[in-house]
């Protein structure tokens, strides 16, 4: 049975597109047939994050308005045989599609894929409503900041009002050192406040920036903590019981000392 999973947040810029690209790739690397759908109509982004921007001919709105068949708009990621992208239209706005269109689209995609990941635009308006219309499950991305968590709470309420079940939380851009100093809310704090299940914590990681620069994603980079975190989330989506990563972002003195001696630094990845 295909699963349609929408990735949303309320607040903008917290990592929805990054999450969609990484989870999509991680699931494809696990042998799943995956399509990532860019539902941010007018602000197309998922294509560049996945490195597929040069191959777009048709987009989601072309499919909805019948200018092409669904198959023609799907872009195959050549690096992963099971990964596809359905790009957003860049020159239209969110009113070009309705929630009914999205439900129909998701249902067509269900027949071809194991996972349909929908990248939602920020906000709680039409674009967000379109993005969750066809969803079976919702993942809410937030960062450990007051404004992002407040918006996430709003989204939790809306997702429940739209009867999309209990959304799960991805806490992005955690900086363990700041958490240790008491200068950033911890995952325990955020989970207590939002009172929803946590499916993963992703550290703030330079590899997200450097890999996005190249049109690659962090899960393709060995040794990236963010990549590892996304791979773990993908495995949890598949029902595996993967313990939460213990994040250590900067090296401790001992690590540096051991590194200087050529010993493997104690990267706590359990």
């Amino acid at each position: 049975m295909a699963r349609v999973i929408t990735i949303t947040s309320g607040k903008g810029g917290v990592g929805k597109t990054t999450t969609t690209a990484n989870l999509g790739t991680a699931l494809a690397m696990q042998g799943q047939r995956v399509v990532a759908v860019d539902a941010d109509i007018g602000l197309r982004n998922l294509d560049v994050v996945m490195g597929l921007e040069n191959r777009i001919v048709y987009d989601l709105v072309d499919v909805v308005e019948g200018r092409c068949r669904l198959r023609q708009a799907l872009i195959k990621d050549k690096r992963f045989p099971e990964l596809f992208l359905l790009p957003a239209a860049q020159t239209r706005d969110k009113d070009a599609v309705s929630p009914e269109d999205m439900i129909e689209l998701c249902n067509s995609l269900r027949r071809e894929f194991d996972f349909v990941l929908v990248d939602s635009p920020a906000g709680i308006e039409g674009g967000f409503r379109n993005a969750i219309a066809g969803a079976d499950e919702v993942l809410i991305v937030t960062t450990p900041e007051v404004s992002a968590v407040r918006d996430a709470d709003r989204i939790v309420g809306l997702v429940e009002a739209f009867e999309k079940g209990h959304p799960r939380l991805i806490l992005n851009r955690i900086r363990p050192q700041m958490v240790n100093r008491g200068e950033m809310m911890s995952k325990e704090d955020v989970v207590e406040i939002l009172a929803i299940d946590l499916i993963g914590v992703v550290p703030d990681d330079e590899v997200i920036v450097t890999s996005t620069n190249r049109g690659e994603v962090a899960v393709m980079q060995k040794g990236s903590q963010a990549g590892r975190a996304y791979t773990d989330i993908a495995r949890r989506l598949l029902g595996e019981d993967v313990p939460m990563l213990v994040l250590t972002d900067d090296q401790s003195l001992l690590d540096k000392f051991m590194g200087a001696l050529g010993l493997r630094p104690r990267r706590t990845v359990r």
Binding site: E145, V146, V149, R150, D153, R154, G157, V179, R181, G182, E183, M184, M185, S186, D189, I193
Partner: protein, 86 residues
């Protein structure tokens, strides 16, 4: 300072604890859907009703607030009543 607090088992007020407290407060209001204006109007009505029955000491000192609870949130009104002996 922080070290001493930890040693004495005192809870330090760091920016993350402040963030958490502020969030909890703002979310109680968001969830109950009470705007500050609504709160003020309700406060005025509560004062009007209470003062029919008792002598309120200092209307300025009345504190009406929403608090987070385990199962549900609470509306708490703290109303100082004038103490008279006759």
């Amino acid at each position: 300072m922080g070290f001493l607090d930890n040693l004495l088992g005192r809870k330090r007020e760091t920016s993350s604890t402040i963030a958490k407290e502020r969030l909890l407060t703002v979310l109680v209001h968001d969830r109950v859907k009470l705007t500050p204006d609504d709160m003020e109007a309700m406060r005025a009505e509560i004062i009007a009703v209470i003062s029919k029955y008792v002598d309120i000491a200092d209307p300025e000192a009345i504190d009406v607030s929403l608090l987070r609870g385990e199962e549900s949130d609470h509306l708490k009104a703290d109303i100082p009543v004038r103490r008279t002996r006759n």
